[in-house]
């Protein structure tokens, strides 16, 4: 991280920001275009993710069911938040799942105490995880590099142990241990009144789903999904603004050369701490939404493998880019839910057109990589991305685009960020 030579990307962004006077919602034209694309994609997701008729053999690749779509956008929020810390400042936190877990628990506690309206729960999730991030960040950010990673990892593992066993003793049961925190009928729920007995927002239940049937296609429109989608769009907009703000520039400066920043008399700690708290709040928000969709919070959400997952998402999509983390989150969740369902008989059905011996051989080769073995594919893919494409899928996409474009100038909105990550290291 103490790279002496490369500071051009940071400096190069300054004029481009100043030059763009004509802004929409405080965004440059390019950024606004990106935002429009994200809005269109999330709003039309029920159509886009259901390309196959529901009775066809390919129907298992449809991802347009509420549960999975909710996960796409919720983990998108989580990854956007993580990217604010890692993508901008270069501090690699291996304990971000702790904030997700804290957010989940706070939201369920609001259900238990106040009632099933999701709004107080989500707000509390953001506040509590923000405070928690302030505490952990204040301590962890005293160190950098590998020490920071280990410290956050240690804190997250500690929070996991606390949630899993320590804070679930009978006298002081905050987390309900292995069972997971959930709402019971004898909980107070002071403001519940006679609203729906499931998470809702002002009467509109989260599980409310409208199904639109067009021929053989069934498109599902879920209230919970659209709530999450709107929240994610707001989060995305905020992160774009943050990326383009002077504050975002300071964070990038921390990443490209913290030493030089210190020598110029700038104290980097408040900036990194602010980034840490913001990304912790994003994680808490994601956790709160997870609980709002399904009012059950378990400690396994805080385990360090969960922290590793968000790292995977961000790197895979493209750390430091705007859209990358969202893509990465969608990619991994799709893999986890769809790819893992492919079993041996499905494979046999696919390769049925081949001669028998060849079919068996092909199935034997492919099988370890799909179904239960999807983690293997994920691990390999992740390694390939880290080795060859430090800018993630976004950088890959840009490279492809440059190859096919005539002028070969590049110039996509994400180019600079992806290129910066590669050049900066």
């Amino acid at each position: 991280m103490t790279d002496q030579t490369d500071y051009t990307p940071v400096a190069a962004q300054l004029p481009s920001r100043r030059a763009a006077r004509d802004t929409i919602l405080g965004l440059t034209r390019k950024d606004f275009g990106l935002l429009t694309v994200v809005i269109a994609l999330t709003m039309l997701a029920p159509f886009l993710l259901n390309p196959f008729p529901s009775n066809s053999a390919m129907a298992q690749f449809n991802a347009g069911y509420p549960d999975l779509m909710q996960r796409f956008v919720i983990f998108g929020i989580f990854a956007i938040g993580f990217n604010i810390l890692f993508g901008l400042t270069g501090y690699l936190s291996f304990g971000h799942a702790a904030f997700l877990g804290v957010g989940s628990y706070s939201c369920v506690w609001m259900f238990k105490l106040l009632g099933y309206n999701v709004l107080p729960g989500i707000l509390l999730a953001i506040v509590v995880s923000g405070l928690f991030a302030l505490l952990i960040g204040y301590i962890s950010l005293r160190r950098s590099g590998i020490y920071f990673s280990i410290l956050t990892l240690a804190f997250a593992q500690m929070s996991f142990a606390l949630a899993y066993s320590v804070l679930s003793n009978p006298s002081f049961n905050l987390t309900n241990g292995e069972t997971g925190l959930q709402v019971y009928t004898n909980d107070p729920q002071w403001l519940q009144g006679d609203g729906p007995r499931a998470p809702h927002i002002f009467g509109l239940a989260m599980r409310e789903t409208e199904t639109l049937s067009v021929g053989a296609w069934n498109f599902q429109f879920n209230a919970g999904y659209y709530l999450c989608a709107v929240v994610m769009i707001i989060c995305f907009y905020l992160s774009v603004r943050l990326f383009r703000s002077p504050f975002g520039m300071m964070l990038r400066a921390v990443k490209s050369n913290q030493q030089r920043l210190n020598y110029t008399g700038v104290n980097a700690r408040p900036y990194t701490l602010a980034a840490f708290v913001i990304s912790g709040m994003y994680a808490g928000l994601a956790g709160g939404l997870l609980s709002a969709m399904d009012p059950l919070a378990g400690a396994e959400r805080m385990q360090w493998t969960a922290s590793g997952e968000v790292v995977l998402m961000t790197i895979l999509g493209g750390a430091g880019t705007l859209i990358g983390p969202v893509l990465g989150a969608g990619f991994i969740k799709y893999f986890e839910n769809i790819f893992s369902k492919i079993n041996e008989s499905t494979l046999h059905a696919w390769f049925a057109f081949l001669p028998d011996g060849l079919e068996d051989a092909l199935v034997a080769i492919v099988y370890p990589f799909v179904g239960k073995g999807w983690h293997l594919t994920l691990g390999l893919l992740f390694m390939l991305v880290v080795i060859f494409l430090p800018g993630g899928l976004v950088q890959g996409g840009n490279k492809m685009a440059t190859i096919f474009r005539r002028d070969r100038k590049g110039g996509g909105v994400e180019d600079d960020a992806a290129a910066q990550r590669q050049a900066g290291e």
Binding site: S165, V311, M383, V386
Partner: protein, 343 residues
Amino acid sequence: MEAFLLQILNGLDKGSAYALIALGLTLIFGTLGVVNFAHGALFMLGAFVAVTMSRLLQLSHKASEPSGTDFLGNPRYEDVLYVQDIFGAELGQTLVDWAVPVSILVAIPVMLLIGFVMERGLIKHFYKRPHADQILVTFGLAIVIQEVIKYFYGANPIPTPAPDAFRGSFDFGVLLGFDPNTIIYPYWRLVYFFFAAIIIAAVFAFLQFTTFGMVVRAGMADRETVGLLGIDIDRRFTIMFGIAAAVAGLAGVMYTPINPPNYHMGMDFLVLSFVVVVVGGMGSLPGAVLAGFLLGILESFASTTWATTAVPGINQIIIYLVAIAVLLTRPRGLMGRRGVMEE
């Protein structure tokens, strides 16, 4: 006093495992400057070398028994182990019984080879990349190794017993003049501790008393100068990576009777071993060993009933608490060297 001793003894076996893994991590970090998140996977691979060995030794074929036929008139068969064919019945049986110690002989070359391949094939390309990238790529590698093992061996723990002679426990208290049955300690854990002590001593002796070790130490202190003296330091560091892998593998081999290996045991140990390395001081070999044993013993003290009643669950968080306290008060760790990993 007895209880005190017992807790120290209980901490030793876990502490030995921490110390061995942390030693390897520190060797890699000190020589190559690489943060190896796949080191836990190497520990796990070692354990699975033992599993494979014990399975291989138990391969058998059917042989007709001379005693004749069963009540339906079919010839009787009995299972005969291949090892018994080769080495004779008695020695073959002993080999099967001693599968875990025997696998040490196999594990050393296998793990050295894995270490070389890993370093030459992957890690080599990451020297110039930031630590974050090294963490990420080795993290990915760890996932891949885990999943490959899971594919071949399944997800369940595989019990691999210690040799008959070392099963059961041993009344340690009598030896030290306490009442009988106060300090009972399983034989194998004692073996594990001595084994770890020997390996650690061997690594230190190798670095301290051989010319090769001297060059490596010089390279750890100032790689560039050693290179300028015309010594191929890269090749030596590759060998050190192999040795670190072998140390982790051996720790895994000998750990199988204590804890049946499963595919994610490496990750479980890795997180704690990293904490151990950081507490001991990045780049300090004695620090890693010291911190390994200290934290192992501390963990076992925190698991006693009086500790868990005083602070419920303290045994689960004690290591992390200590790590945080150490990092904040002594940022370099207990015995960290100046100038290692300081930006």
